[in-house]
Amino acid sequence: MEMLTLECPYCGVQADETELHAGGEAHLTRFGPGSSDADFEAYLFMRENPKGVHFERWRHVNGCGKWFHAARCTMTLEVFGTYPAQTAEPPKKIRDAITAKRPGWTWRELS
């Protein structure tokens, strides 16, 4: 039984996983009409599956209803931070928090 807790960055509560809905990988770039088959396929189907630092989308579905992002370690379930979904990349504060805990981390083109 997975029973994570994540802090919702909107309402500030430490939410149980039962309050949350997992939404897969964060920071995908949408490819629409006119994009190449390769780009579109990667956007639709290709996902990171890291053992370690990962960025995910979550929705506080049984709470305020807002989508947010979580940076966490898939191996230890350590949470480095959560932040609003209205951003194309993780804020510096989050990246620094990861670096403090996992020096040398990489994820997609981030590090």
Binding site: M1, E2, M3, L4, T5, L6, D16, E17, G23, R30, F31, G32, P33, G34, S35, D37, F40, L44, R57, R59, V61, G65, K66, W67, C73, T76, L77, E78, V79, A85, Q86, K101
Partner: protein, 1006 residues
Amino acid sequence: MSTRLATGGRLVDRSSDIRFTFNGKSFRGHEGDTLASALLANDQMLVGRSFKYHRPRGVVASGAEEPNALVNLGRDTTHEPNQRATTTELFNGLQATSQNHWPSLDYDIGALNWLFGRFLTAGFYYKTFIHPRPFWKHIYEPFIRQSAGLGRAPDPETRDPDTYEHFYAFVDVVVIGGGVAGLQAAKAAADSGAKVLVMEQTAHWGGRAPVDGGTIDGMAPGGWVNKTVEALEGMENVALRTRSMGAGVYDHGYVLGYERLTDHAPFLKGPRHRLWRIRARQIVTATGAIERPLSFAGNDIPGVMLASAVRDYLVNYGVIAGQRTVVVTNNDDAYRTAIALKQAGLQVPAVIDARQMGGGALMEEAKSLGIRVETGRAIAKVKGGKRVTGVAICAMAGGGAMLEEIKCDAVAMSGGWSPVVHLWSHCGGKLTWDEDHAFFRPDPERAPTSHDGLPFVTVTGSANGEMDLKSVLEDADKAGKSSRKAAGGKPRRFAPPKGESVEEVPLRPVWLMPENAWDDLRMKAWLDYQNDVKVSDVQLAAREGYESVEHTKRYTTLGMATDQGKLSNINGLATLAASLGEEIPQVGTTTFRPPYTPISMGAIAGEARGEIFQPIRKTPIHAWHEKHGAAWEPVGHWRRPYCYPQQGESKHDAVHREVLATRNSLGLLDASTLGKIIVKGPDAGRFLDMLYTNMMSTLKPGRCRYGLMCTENGFLTDDGVVARIDEDTFLCHTTTGGADRIHAHMEEWLQTEWWDWKVYTANATEQFAQIAVVGPNARKLLEKLGGMDVGKDMLPFMAWADGTLAGFPVRVYRISFSGELSYEIAVPANLGRAFWDKIVEAGQEWNITPYGTEALHVMRAEKGFIMIGDETDGTVIPQDLGLHWAISKKKEDYLGKRAQTRSHMADPNRWQLVGLETVDGSVLPDGAYAVAAGKNANGQRNTQGRVTSTYHSPTLGKGIAMGLVHHGPDRMGEIIPFIKDDGETVVEAKIVSPVFFDPEGEKQNV
């Protein structure tokens, strides 16, 4: 024989008289007994039969680790299999029956399996029953299932009469285990105000300490326990629960607890079990240790028990397994059993100590009591059948040559102790092998970590590998204080209590007795009593190439079933390691998974049963449907009327009547369940253009448009009519089951992709009742109600208007899902029922007929309208359904547009929607496939299409269907063969237009 002594038994009330039955036979016991102690007190040594060989089995342990004494408890509605007699508290009227035997416990035919034991080795079933293939399903498996199996499942038709509940708790520290370690840890954590919850799985505090002796702060352990419990009970920040097991430790400090409230006293009111869902900042597990059996021949014969269990029954219940008990050990602790028995006036013919040099102070004490001690010796084998009659003694070194036979009726064995590390391991805590004690203990360097990356579980006491009273208490004090600190508090600096116990000398690891036991002895040396796994089975598995402990577990069944190898695991993997020539830590353990011991399904379900298992959503008109005999259909969480059968009418006839009444005069539908999502804001039109395949931004206020929604994968996910309310506001109708999903879909895109667009959404589904008035007399009815112009010019097809009808504030949409003249009328939900009643009353002159979902489906199919979930299944794109007219060619983008240009999506060979008419007028089976010539790579018939919707049409008097067919639209008039459910019978159907009725739309557009 086993019996109860005239005195003794600290947990039983000798003045009480408890009656119970075992296999129908009446017995008596005392309050405070477990079923196991009471059975032993009545000389009922034989309690069950083993799983594979049906060997006679007796009680071997005294707690949750018991593998043998599993019984059926209760009867009829309260029947429950696989209950451990050792943890079942006795009560008046308890009924127990033994398991896994036929025809009776004493005479069991399956015991013949033992004669073939040489062939029933590890992997026997896998090896033997492979060929011929069909035999497995029809002959082997049914036979094996009948003769094996643990317990009997309750009758599927019975309903559990008990109630269960969930309980939520949030604490700083949860302490699991109420022995002296748990109590001291709780005290140390709670002293400075931490909120502490202590859970103890038994009914008693103190664990083993009161049985094992020593002193704490100069007191007998029992006295210290009472004093400490009293102190904890006086603290407001501490909650103490007995009969409550810590079942599992999960991520981020989540703990499941399992409280058994009335199992010991079924006459009590209230829930039977309670599932505790605990979130703790820190978890302390003080779960103690479990004694290991020794592997010698005949170690499964009733009367062979763990030395600690023999001591427990004596001290706690005044019960003995036999009059003459031989103790066999590789460590000092078992001498406590010999001493206790001797002091109770019983005979201990010998202590057989595998160690060449024997033990320390405890051995000397035993000797001084006149007990004979044989060092460097072993049991070659136990004599006896259904109970012990003696033991053959041999040298520990060697193969088992008998030196002497000692008559006895019980054997107390001890192979050392294993810390209960389960809860530590549940959430990723790692173990380290302790050479000195020959056990796995928690490795504090590799603790389970929480959301902050810091450890959140501390193991303490003997669960942490601390085996003497002094270090147990010091360790527990430390654990309590450190967990308090980790939970964000400041512990007080009280000194830990001082424990004193007799010093012990090291054990000698013994995994097989004697050291080089001969073949025939190893074949009778049991590792796992419950699953009949012997030393020879694990050795065979190793020879056959099983190197991984996880594979060996599954191949031999070692450590499976209800006890999950609490006794057998370490002995089993040590045997495997020896066979492989590896070190024990290299072989490792199998995975510890929650729950620690089985918990009831009732507790997991909690209150979620019957009506509140999944609450039903009801429309404002639900009660009317109920009163008028609606046959219900679940749609999402809603219940919708399927049809309204009148007296003596079948459902089929009711649907027939409802369709014809609607087509010929006037029908009425409760459409309140349709999703209604308001989309509002300056960018609402732009947003809907992205969500729907067609153009919504060009829709004029006052008008409606049918729209399709796809996922980014291109697949059709929902449809419905969109009404533009004003420049900034749209109302999107969704399917009944789709409202919440589509609302979430909108929010997801708005929040995560187009967050700068100025749009709000609100799900207003339940704010309105919506009623469809359908049929040639629909307009007349509305005119009769009066209040607004519903004429063709003011309210043409696909328009909407606000107004009043019969004094009700309404919004009227002129839309049709039936092909008839039709109005869908929304009123505020609280007026829904009154408005419906008004319509029913006013419609009498046209024989107004309420219809259900099936008539709705039939009428839409007659018109060739698709239904999400029938024509779509998550693999269908709008282009498959001939819906090109609803896909904008002008828009640069919409969700799914790019996907629909992928090569497979644009493939002309995709199956396309057509109508299907059987040649003989019959109704095609739903989901039937049209077969084509030849077979595919798997030898299956090739197919060329399938049925997606199929009905009897009352309007047309024949079967009609829709389906997806290869090149379907190009094959009008062609007859293709469909196959019925039997896989053989062919039904021929002609490919036709999916619009069977009024293709020009003359009826709806009047």
